[in-house]
Assembly symmetry: C2
Homo-oligomer: 351 residues x 2
């Protein structure tokens, strides 16, 4: 009987955080790619464009003029998917036709006054200002809403419609689907094992080492055992922290620094401004903020689509949409590649 | 208090088949789109290309030469994600690090000898041959494997790497994630209500009418109440049928004809060869084929990405990946648009 080797033999892995399986078929990296090649990433963004509604001093769709901000800048999304006052759809008349009310608020946060920078090209103290802004908006919107979803779509490939460095914040009156799944899994694990799932997981990864990408005094970055996207990572505090606002000053500085390192590695991987969607998950907020949420551990997910080069992505299509996620290199291989990349950005290195 | 109107007021809807929620924010269609525009779809595919490994008479990656087939043609995928003989990863040493064996087989099925046709441009009898081939491959691989996933990725936008009309078949030794969710939901519904979920659902949609796209003697096509993709549809037999091989000759003819109509409407919507991923779901097969699977109803899902035009798609990114699926027009609006489109293909209509 052949001995099992993850890098050669297909197998399935379980994601205990989101209760999902992924098919890992690393041998498939050998297949040639003849499909769609993405357009090269546009690198020539002007530093300031008075017609870009995210720029300082520019006019937005609602007629408001942005201040001449010089750090981060938070404002209401002019085309929000969630508004504060939608009426209730009323009771459903049938179990197969269930609708519920959805209320909320959508904000946009600019990271920097310049359009031609991205987080890895910003200074650690500029990134630290973003971390503080994330913590404040969580606090502010979390006072009213049970879930505050901070997320960044980076790059046109990820549906981002404006090159200015920014993220979005969508707060909702309901716990979204993924949050519900993470809530169930973390609660069940705590019940059974007496500690938070992601605390035990982080400790295990520190022992096993093979999926670590970066470690610092207060944070870990790793490719999760159950990663779906080729270079997906999970960013975790070492201490048990439930939500962004709880982070200490030292943890925030350290977060800014490890984020800069991670995103620099990402850009260096294929020498391109690496596209991704990322977002933060922490314990629910709103009126039940005082309930027992000790089973939650704050974390960020990074979901980058590139697989082989700056222009060849992983498509999550037919089999993935209809049956199960599938990946073409192992999480261990991905972690190893990210680990060995330099921490100096390829655009900044001495020529 | 304002009266609730689905087309104006955001709300969330429940997908009872896959146990998921979707945020419906129809008012959002008003926002301008400044993001990525897809490259126009290449329409000039040669009818025969001796270097295309899917063409009759061409050589494949493994050195085999295709026969000069003149109908459908089924062969083993040269770069399979699932192989019949992967060793077992062995018992997991920790609840957060669970892996299991995955075995299977991946096949490719060409629909037609010509590269420059697609299903809606094929004749009803040629499509009927595809239906028969789907039924046979389900029977053949289902003898050994518990799940046989037939799926078609159509268009470069959906990761399809070869323009020749074809689909794939991945059979696995395990029930994939989505199949497991549909199994759980359908079993629970049958237990509680004494009939299959999708039988009751189809009947309700026939009564309510607002989400129907096409009906025929034996089939229904509708935009499900919980649709995530802009023009997503569900194709259902009227009779209780668990798997493709059970379809009668009359049902197969009628399926070929309603598929041709649906796919013609799809192409007509934005006057383009409409990209999508589609696939069939039926009761599990393999060694437990004789168990009680009466809660299953055969169905096909169509997941097309286009939203506003041939080049503007819906991106399922940040919020969707991290929180919950979100859609920008209501399923009722989508059904209405599809319903009113002609059943004659825009490429074939009299000029
Ligand atoms: O097998 P293909 O067509 O080369 O590949 C395509 O479909 C597969 C199954 O959905 C996906 O895993 C790939 O990412 C996609 O590019
Ligand atoms: O709000 P944006 O950046 O215009 O839009 C982008 O992010 C949203 C949230 O993930 C998605 O719903 C859109 O499909 C995507 O294009």
């Amino acid at each position: 009987e052949t001995t099992f080797r993850a890098s050669e033999h297909q197998h399935i892995r379980y994601n205990p955080l989101q209760d999902e399986w992924v098919l890992v078929s690393a041998h498939r990296m050998k297949r040639p790619w003849q499909g769609q090649v993405e357009p090269p990433i546009m690198e020539t963004v002007p530093r300031h464009d008075p017609h870009n509604p995210l720029c300082p001093g520019a006019m937005r769709a609602n007629g408001e003029v942005n201040p001449h901000y010089d750090g981060t800048f938070l404002f209401d999304n002019d085309f929000p998917a969630l508004q504060p006052d939608a009426p209730n759809p009323g009771r459903s008349d049938h179990p197969l036709f269930q609708a519920e009310a959805a209320r909320g608020i959508c904000k946009v946060m600019c990271f920097h006054p310049w359009s031609d920078v991205t987080l890895p090209l910003m200074s650690v103290s500029e990134i630290r200002a973003v971390v503080d802004a994330w913590a404040s908006v969580t606090e502010e919107l979390g006072a009213q809403y049970p879930w505050v979803q901070i997320f960044e779509n980076k790059g046109a490939m990820m549906g981002c419609s404006n090159p200015h460095p920014h993220c979005q914040v969508w707060a909702s009156s309901f716990l979204p689907d993924v949050a519900q799944r993470e809530e169930r899994s973390q609660r069940a694990f705590q019940c059974q094992h007496g500690e938070p799932l992601l605390m035990e997981y982080g400790r295990q990864e520190l022992l096993r080492k093979e999926r670590l990408v970066l470690t610092s005094e207060h944070w870990l970055v790793l490719v999760p055992y159950w990663a779906v996207w080729p270079f997906q990572t999970l960013l975790l505090p070492r201490r048990h922290v439930r939500r962004l606002p709880e982070l200490t000053a030292a943890e925030r500085d350290d977060l800014a620094s490890i984020m800069k390192k991670l995103l620099t590695k990402y850009d260096n991987l294929f020498e391109t401004s690496f596209p991704y969607s990322m977002g933060w998950h922490g314990a629910p907020t709103g009126s039940e903020v005082k309930a027992d949420w000790d089973h939650w551990q704050l974390h960020a997910h990074y979901y980058p689509p590139l697989l082989r080069s700056a222009t060849v992505r992983k498509f999550m299509v037919g089999y993935e949409m209809l049956a199960q996620a599938q990946r073409d290199l192992t999480p261990e291989q991905a972690a190893e590649r990210l680990r060995t990349l330099p921490e100096v950005h390829y655009c900044l290195g001495q020529k």
